[in-house]
């Protein structure tokens, strides 16, 4: 119990930390990509602050990959600029890119070389990365045993880990992951999520994750940037922060439905939204802080409670609301 509280405390602290004062790591300033008169990405602007994990969400073809490729200089911007730690990708590429570690789509390596040889390739392309740092990142992703095997013998999960090792090598301030769980099995996805948390904590860096897997984003990110047809739709906060002072909607299953309804209607703190007599359930809306009081009131009234479920509006519903269904333009 104590431990859970502690965990929640640290989670909260983490969420508070990347507040207004945290320095900007990435600034997207009106970035556009126009191909043959058509805007693939249209005047996109958003920021990422130190220590934040931000999700870049959008339906297929929304321009997520194009956006990420522009951030990393793989694709030229038609308009606007991306600033990394204050350095422009457009005019000061080498200094800006030095702060980025990225995996863009699938992590692809030289298959005939060993994992270590592949990492050494990137060590030679980066200033101030010694062998000790290689060992450090290899240990962080847990690939010690596989370092001397050829990459062609690696599973997709191992390649993802080597991809992360590669991205972390130069001690980036911003880690960019494009569809990091693509093609991974559930165990791999979970593992990936744990790595990302560890990395954010251990290395203290900001992470940008692009995905169309909403549940993934919801579980790990502090904020989500939603884009559609290359345009910014909304930037939303995720996780605890949002819940703190908000109203919650609960479904309560009881043994005596009518008594429960009477009690709820008799109190000031909760509003009855509906009921389901066949399942002996009622739905109520109330402030988060008033939940214990309602439970006590039900208990005093002699109503037995079987379960209480939160009716959460999931990110998925929000997402469909924002993007107007599954239209792909």
């Amino acid at each position: 119990m104590n431990q859970i509280m502690m965990n929640q405390m640290t989670m909260k602290q983490q969420n508070v930390e990347p507040g207004k004062e945290a320095p900007l790591v990435l600034q997207m300033n009106g970035v556009s990509k126009i191909i043959k008169g058509k805007s693939i990405v249209d005047k996109l602007s958003f920021d990422i602050r130190k220590g934040e994990i931000v999700g870049l969400l959008g339906p297929n073809g929304a321009g997520k990959t194009t956006t990420i490729r522009m951030m990393t200089g793989l694709i030229r911007m038609s308009e606007g600029d991306v600033m990394i730690q204050g350095h422009s990708i457009r005019n000061d590429f080498k200094r800006a890119i030095a702060h980025i570690g990225a995996i863009i789509e699938n992590p692809e390596f030289y298959p005939y070389m060993t994992g270590l040889d592949n990492l050494k390739q990137y060590q030679r392309m980066t200033d101030e990365v010694n062998d000790e740092r290689i060992n450090e990142v290899v240990q962080l992703v847990g690939l010690q045993e596989a370092m001397n095997k050829k990459v062609k013998a690696y599973s997709l999960g191992m390649r993802q880990r080597l991809g992360i090792a590669q991205a972390l090598l130069q001690r980036p301030k911003l880690l960019i992951l494009d569809e990091p769980t693509n093609g991974l099995d559930p165990a791999g996805i979970r593992e990936m999520r744990e790595y990302m948390r560890t990395i954010a904590e251990v290395e203290g860096i900001s992470i940008l994750i692009s995905s169309h897997m909403l549940a993934e984003i919801e579980q790990i990110c502090h904020r989500a940037v939603v884009i559609q047809n290359g345009k910014l739709v909304t930037v939303t906060k995720l996780g605890e922060e949002q819940e703190a002072a908000a109203q919650v909607k609960l479904t309560i299953r009881v043994d005596l439905l009518q008594s429960a309804i009477d009690i709820v209607e008799g109190t000031e703190i909760a509003q009855l939204n509906g009921m389901d007599s066949t399942r002996a359930e009622l739905t109520v809306t109330l402030l988060d802080s008033n939940v214990p009081a309602l439970v006590t009131a039900l208990g005093i009234g002699g109503v037995g409670i079987y379960r209480i479920t939160e009716l959460k509006q999931s990110l998925e519903e929000d997402f469909l609301k924002w993007t107007g269904g599954n239209l792909i333009a």
Binding site: R69, T72, G73, L74, I75, R76, F93, K94, R95, I97, A98, I100, A102, I104, E105, N106, P107, E108, F109, Y110, P111, Y112, M113, D117, Q121, Y122, R124, M125, T126, D127, Q166, Q170
Partner: protein
Amino acid sequence: MRRFNNLMINEWLKLSKKRMFFMPYVLLILLPLLVGYIVHSVSAELFGSAFDFSSTMLLPNGIGQALTILAIIGTAGVVSKEYGQGTIKFLLIRARSRTAILASKYVIVLVYALTLTIVTTIAVYGSGILWFGLNGGEAGFSEILLSVLYGFVYTVVYVTLAFMIGILTTSTGVTIGITMFAITIDKLVISRDFYKYVLFPNLNLSAYEGNGAPMRGMTLSFSITMLAVYMLLFLLAGFVVFRRRDVA
């Protein structure tokens, strides 16, 4: 400079860590031995000595041609494989300019062609000694070196062409195909005046030996100028495209 050296080390490792890396070298050692054996058994008097044999064989239309073909095959993938394997994404998101990355690749292509040439020269000379001996004949070391030079010029122009096509097409197969096609038709002569401005008749500088010329009105300095202009064009096209292209 240390940064550029490291880029070159990377490129050399990408070539040399391949399983088939030694194949071209082995072929280029075996081929002269075989050719020497065949020539010797058909007509032992054809070459007076190892020097005669070497200076003829190393020309762009002798074993030098096989050398060029193998160098092209090695070069074709240097840029296009990065696109094919998808490794181009990791390569270009480093604090190194695209120009420096491509330049290191080109230097290593030239080094690769040079190592092939050196191995071939030694193998041909060795085969010459084995089958024709060191005595007699008219040629000497300077003739061998001149043949090596002609052969190397031919090879360098072709690997530069293959390097450029590899950048433009990003396909190893297409690059090898186009360049091989060029090699097979480069001996054709079209007897029109414009043809001397085409790359092909200028490629084999040994044609000027003994006051000859590939076509009327062509001189050695004319051909050297033409080759330089073509090389510059190939490199310019390659670098401009590589620097500007979106990696989608």
